[in-house]
Symmetry: C5
Subunit: 89 residues, 5 copies
């Protein structure tokens, strides 16, 4: 779980990252309290600033459906894969 807090602009980067939205996400818990440090995640679900999102890391991050670069040269290791509507506790 994380909250989208911004994005980064990067001109000089690996070809597999061209055309991807690179968002700054801050991990949160289900009380929406910020935990741990910020990370960069590519976005495949059109998440906006302030959205609470599902994030996947590692090989899973390169399998996301909206990822047009799903190939052997994809360097991505963190992807937003869902928007959280509600926490049920």
């Amino acid at each position: 779980m994380a909250r989208v807090i911004g994005s980064v602009v990067s001109t000089q980067k690996d070809p597999s990252l061209v055309g991807k939205k690179l968002m700054i996400v801050r991990p949160i818990d289900s009380d929406q309290k910020e935990i741990r440090f910020e990370q960069i995640a590519s976005d495949t679900v059109n998440a906006g600033i302030g959205d609470n999102v599902l994030v996947t890391r590692g090989a899973g991050a390169r399998r996301a459906d909206g990822d047009s670069q799903r190939d052997a040269a994809d360097v991505n290791d963190c992807t937003i894969v869902g928007i959280i509507d509600r926490f049920d506790k």
Copy 2:
């Protein structure tokens, strides 16, 4: 080891996550003390709120038997794979 404390509702998400139960789990130790921060884990063993569970991460999370999406596009990186009956120490 983790305890199930809730679930999340997400409408807009990666196709590989559709139909999966996404639970909020809190890592615990064998004294059932909460350690570290909450995570989201998909559930393959019908775990309920309050259950102590076994959780697997990374590639192992995409191999769980109850996972109907065991395919190349599965973005899941954390799965509940067992319910803990008892700690023996």
Copy 3:
């Protein structure tokens, strides 16, 4: 490095975990001081309570020799792969 401090009993679990000994291990340093939090590790070397052991994580955990389930559905992500006799410093 970790010390074996107990085990867990789990009836309802992924088929790939059936028949495996699931031990509770506590990471230690070479002074045998406890560091970090407990984890669950499957055992392939007949480690006993109190043994100091070598632990491997991730894909390496699914390759251990004593692992009768070395197949595509193995969900294991942490395995005891050796018993430490002595620290030389």
Copy 4:
């Protein structure tokens, strides 16, 4: 996100690392505050000291375009894959 703060010289090393620039990077957040500890990352985008960069870890690190050693013996696990021009928040 990380800032490049230096480099390391290593003569005796794995063949897959020969010819790679090995930079010392310090993780930062989007306020450019230093977080966590330093790491070594190979460089594929000609990053310089003081640059804020995108870093990928694990298997993604071995897929970077500028990596001339993209083969089965590549031991690299951390790579600089982009230079950050700007944080938008």
Copy 5:
């Protein structure tokens, strides 16, 4: 980055670890300050006690050139892949 501080002796272990030197390493930063906790790493570059070394983790650890066991049963997840001569900052 890590410093080699000792080794472990283990008789009862996974076959893929037989014949490997298993070193105790302590992560350091470029000021040679100790950071985080000790780990066990197999050695492929003949590192000695006191050497500052490059360490790789995960799948990369099983690809190191000096690793005579580069096969599907290798359980190793942390390897020393270079000796650091100098930090340039």
